[in-house]
Each structure stands twice: as C-alpha cells, then as structure tokens.
Amino acid sequence: MTLADSMPGPGSEPRQERHKALLALLLDNLVWIILLFALACFAIFIPKFFQIGILLNIIEQSTFVGIIAVGLSLTLIAGQMDLSIESVMALAAMTVALTFGTGGAGGGLALQPPWLAFPVSLAMALGVGALIGWLNGTLVVRFEINAFIVTLASYIWGRGLVVALSGGRSVYGLPDALRGVAVTRLLGIPMLAWVLVAVYAAFALMLAKTPFGRHLYMIGGNAIASARAGIPVARNVTLAFVLSGTLAGLAGWLLASRTAGATANPGIGMLFQAFAAVVIGGVSLKGGQGRLSGVFAGVLLLSSIQTAINVMGMPPHYTMMIQGTLVLAAVLLDTAKNGLRRRYL
C-alpha cells in the first residue's frame, strides 16, 4: 500500500531520468548559457573584443554591483528586500574618503604606522554598513514595517547624507595602504576580481550548505511554517539585513579604494543594475527562490554588455536601454522556464 502518488510513469526509465536531469541542469544554469552566447557573439562581431584584458576588465567592473547584488539576493531570498544598498555603499565610501583623503573635502587622517589605515578604514566601512543594515532589519522585524518602505527611506536619507557630508565636493588622495587592493594583482588577475569571486563563493556556500542559508530560503518560502518549526525568524531576517548592509559597506570601501577617494555622489544608479542582475540571475521577488551562481552570471552579463557598448564606441545610454529590456526578458524567461519545468520535470 502506498500513500503517495507513485505512478511508475515513463519518467522512471533511466534514460528518461537522464534527459530530465540534463534539462533541469540546463534550466538551472540558463543565465550562464546566455552569458556564454553573448560573449561568443561579441567576440565574433566586435573586433578586438576578445582579449584577456577586456575579459578581466569585465569582471573587475562587476565588483561593486556584484557585491551589493549578493546582499540584495540574501534579503530577497528571505522574502524581504534591501533598496538601501547603493546609498550604504556610497556612505561607506564617503566616510572612508573623508577620513583618510588628503585632497578636496578629505580630513587627511594619517595613522602611524601607515598600514593601520587599511584595517581601520575597512572596519569603518563595514561598521557603517552593518549599522544601517541592523537599523533596516530592526525596523522591518520589530516594528513590522514593510521592507520596501524602510529601505527606500534608507536609500533616500543615505544619499542625502552622502552629499551633506561631502558638501558636494569630491575627495581625492587616499593613502597607499588603502589603494592597495584596487591596484594590485594576484597571479595576473586584479585583486578586485579575486575579492568578488571570494565573496560569491563564500555566500553561495553559506546559502547552499549551512543551516542559516537554508533557513533563509525557508523563511522566504513560508515564514509561518518556519516559525512553527522553531526557526528564529526575526533573528535570521535581521541578520540578512545586517549582512546586506555589511556587504554594501565592503563594496563602498572597495569603491573608495578604486577611485582613490570619492566623487561628490559615488555609485549612483548601481542599485538598479544590482536589481537587474539579481532578477536576470533568477532570484524571485516572491522570496525563497534563486541561487548566487545565477546572480553572478547576471552581473557578468550586464557588465559584458556595458563593455561591448564601450568598445563599439556607442553612447552609454544604450546600455541602460538594453539592460532595461534584459530585465523584462529575464522575467518572461523565468515564466517560460517554470512552464517547462511543470511540463517535463
């Protein structure tokens, strides 16, 4: 006697099973296939596109959007969202630049020994991010305010604070200890690219293989059931926001390092790119869905298109038009994918 519907349909044949597994694999990694296809097209049709330098540049370019997209993914998977990441990144960058910058609006703090600037500035950036993340998380969890509203507010006041702090002036002249990460290479690959890959590897592992990661998916899928199963929902959601803020802080620190200071209003527009990458990567706004490998491919895809447009010498607003179209295409593709899954898997 079996309770389950255990119909031995055609799917039970091993060959069919293999086909199904292959189809599932293709659907799960569709963004990577699209990315490879796009890169192949660019390589064929755009002269001088296929060079190691350009490919490395694509990854390096992706660093800031890529890292804040991880935080956005964490909160989306947990059924929330974090719109504040761009402003948090800018605020972290501005804080570091104002403290250590020697030119423009910079305060010119010089530590002894000079290398101290590295850990101190990093701690500042991460601290700013964690603090705003904690504030967002607490407002969402404790006061039960919609995450969209809370983080939209943080996005707005964060931006305002950045400009208020800089007084509209840019900062330049960061100490060498701070510049290191942006200008050094390891095994011929820019350090920024390593950091990006390391962040993705660490957080992908966390999501897929640790109880905390699994609980985020559960909370995003069914928060009531998670609470009933004894999962500390409030704590985990708050932690997701703190991690998102901290990652944005890291991105800000890297941005300051990269630009050797901060423009008056750094990183503007990156929220929308991160959002696009996350959606293209298959993270659902409904919560509980998506993997970081897809997001990484999404980030690289956007960056590749941007680079291709640059190399072709087209005006940059084409990038935005294409990216906007891509987001819509991604959502439609997601629907089509689900249809295929339902029918064949």
Binding site: M1, P211, S226
Partner: protein, 258 residues
C-alpha cells in the same frame, strides 16, 4: 491510561464563554473525531491543547502529568502538534529540507555548521518507508507534490520527531476523493504506531471511516462522547444540531468546576 485527559476546560473571551467545562480523553493509538457546528468551540479547544491559547480554568493531563503549555513550542516539545494543511511546509524546498526543517543535521568544519545533506536524505527515506509513504524523488520541491503527499510528509515528520498526539484540523478540506482515501489510510497507520489523533472534520463519512470515538461539542460543552461502532451518523447529526440534548457520560469527571 489516557494519553491526553481534559478535565473541566473553560475558556472565556470577555463576557463570552467559548468553552464551558469540556472533559474528554484520548488514548495512545486512538483516533477521536471532534465534531460540532461552527462556533461550537472546536478551534478554541484544539488551540488550548496545542498550547496556542491558555484555558481560563480546568486541567490538562498529558502522559500522566499535569501540563500548562506557555506556547506552541512547549506543546510541540512535549509531543503535541497541530498539522495544518500546507501551513507547515515550505513548498519552495525539497522533501528532505522540509522533513528536517529547523532540525537540520550538521557537521562542524572550522566551527561553521555545514548541512549533512546525504545523511538527511537517507534518514528521510527510511522514515517515509517506515510510515508506508513512497515519494519517488526526495529532491523534488514540495510544490510539485500532491496535497496527499504533502500531508503524508507532515504526518511522517511528526511521528519521526517523537510526536505523541496529533491534531488534524480539516485535513481533507482541499483533497479529492482518492487523496482523501489515502489520507485516511495514513491516519490508520499513524494510529497503528501508537499515536493519539484528534481529527476535526465536518464530513460525517470521514469521522465514521477512521475514528474510534466521536466527541460532539455544542455551545462549548461536550454533548456526546460515543464509540463509533455504537452510534449512527443520524444520531451524531442530531447531537450536533441539538436535536438530541446529550448522550453518554464525559470520560472523566474529576476536576469538574464547582
């Protein structure tokens, strides 16, 4: 000895008395159908049993000891749980993840807990087989499973984690005929493993198909506590609607309010 014994349970919400001294018992390996019209006090009663609400008066004995659960967590730890349809599963995750929800097996590497997915899958498979449930692919997300399969997962999960008394609140409300039949079979198997079951249903046929006893609530009181084989659907309907005032004695009289 009874697994669960309710004695003179009362519950008031302001001036409204939802329960007016309810007493009945459930034994291990017994299925008790709880029937009653809307507003008879069924949901309030099961919420009290499952620790979601506190009784205003009365005693609850579980496993021979008096209990007063502060919340659902305590009731669950003691082995009492309400299985709601769909409410207790994350349909975006696979069977294994759901089975181990909140109780994941981990191995520490450098102090970081990592999931032991393979061990969890093996244990899930064993537990489902022991419960007589066959789900071919444990890595399928639950959203692709039928309502009956989902219920089977929840019930097996409950039994596997040491549950002793399960409350099923309208478990077949959304199921078709065939799935309901299978669901009733699952209840049979759960009973055979020595679990006490309180089944709330509106469908007389289901109560008669699976229950050992039928307890009828009306206006917050037990008006009938009958062996299923010693009564008829007609009689029960009359009890529910008030056509018959009261049949049978409450299984316990101790702790009746003065």
């Amino acid at each position: 000895m009874a697994l669960l014994e309710l004695a003179g349970i009362r519950k008031s919400f302001g001036a409204i008395e939802a329960l007016r001294g309810v007493s009945f018992a459930v034994s291990a390996g017994e299925v008790v159908a709880l029937l009653g019209d809307n507003g008879a006090g069924k949901s309030t009663l099961v919420k009290i049993i499952a620790g979601e609400e506190r009784a205003s008066a009365g005693r609850i004995l579980f496993d021979g000891a008096e209990v007063a659960f502060a919340d659902q967590g305590e009731a669950k730890a003691a082995g009492i749980e309400t299985v709601y349809q769909d409410l207790s599963l994350c349909t975006n995750l696979d069977v294994v993840a759901n089975f181990f929800m909140g109780r994941e097996l981990t191995r520490r590497v450098l102090g970081i807990p990592f999931l032991r997915d393979r061990a969890m899958e093996a244990e899930t498979r064993r537990a489902l087989e022991a419960g007589g449930t066959r789900i071919p692919r444990l890595r399928t997300t639950v959203e692709h499973l039928s309502g009956g399969q989902r219920q089977a997962i929840e019930l097996n999960r409950f039994v596997h984690w040491g549950g002793k008394l399960v409350i099923l609140d309208e478990p077949f409300a959304a199921l078709g005929v065939e799935q309901t039949r299978r669901g009733l079979e699952t209840i049979d198997r759960v009973r055979a493993r020595g679990i006490g079951v309180i089944l709330i249903t509106h469908v007389m046929a289901q109560a008669f198909a699976v229950a050992d006893r039928i307890v009828v609530l009306r206006h917050g009181s037990v008006v009938g506590d009958l062996r299923t084989d010693a009564t008829t659907p007609d009689e029960v309907v009359h009890l529910i609607t008030g056509g018959i005032e009261r049949i049978g004695q409450p299984t316990t009289t101790q702790g009746e309010p003065a």
